[in-house]
Symmetry: C2
């Protein structure tokens, strides 16, 4: 067996740095390939190919208008990644402060020291 295909799921699609850039560049805007090319400075086939992968995984949507194809991010498809990684947030965030908060609350309630 080989590596999991890039089109298998959002995790694999987004492993490619350029594909992440692409998604970020799009943001909430809807852009024609044209402008993406200008924006990122890659050559057109490169952009089209990456868009194809992203479309196959459902990470972007496509709308045809005249000779153009307008692409937009389909953010919901990123949720699996978010959901998988979020539980680990507590290990690097100072949101251990939540614990501190609780302790602070208890102090207040207990009033005198």
């Amino acid at each position: 067996m080989a590596r999991t295909p890039t089109t298998h799921d959002p995790f694999n699609a987004v492993a490619e740095p350029k594909r992440r850039q692409l998604i970020q560049a799009l943001g909430s805007k809807e852009l024609p390939v044209n402008e993406i090319v200008a924006l990122l400075g890659w050559n057109q086939p490169t952009v089209s190919k990456h868009l194809k992968v992203l479309k196959q995984v459902g990470l972007v949507g496509e709308r045809r208008v005249g000779r153009q194809r307008l692409y937009r991010v389909n953010a919901e498809r990123l949720k699996p990644i978010f959901d998988w990684v979020t539980p680990f947030e507590r290990y690097w965030t100072e949101r251990f402060e939540r614990l501190d908060e609780v302790l602070e609350q208890m102090k207040k309630k207990g009033a005198t020291t």
Copy 2:
């Protein structure tokens, strides 16, 4: 050029489903290869190989104790993924409710209608 190597960054390392399972299985525990094998039901070389990749990217740490090697997750290395994906949360979460909250607040302040 070929695909970005799995050992290049957390994104690529975690693209492999088994590697995600592995990380989840470890959680905050520290386990010897032994138990990981039992826990996941894969064969030992498979586990070792995946651990190797994860270690190279810094996603797990290793501690030697006797003949065993205890592995633990290095959660901070997941932060880049979290940071990249988090900005998109607003597109699928009902935390648009934040907006609603604000509007609600304004209503209250403005009192009458």
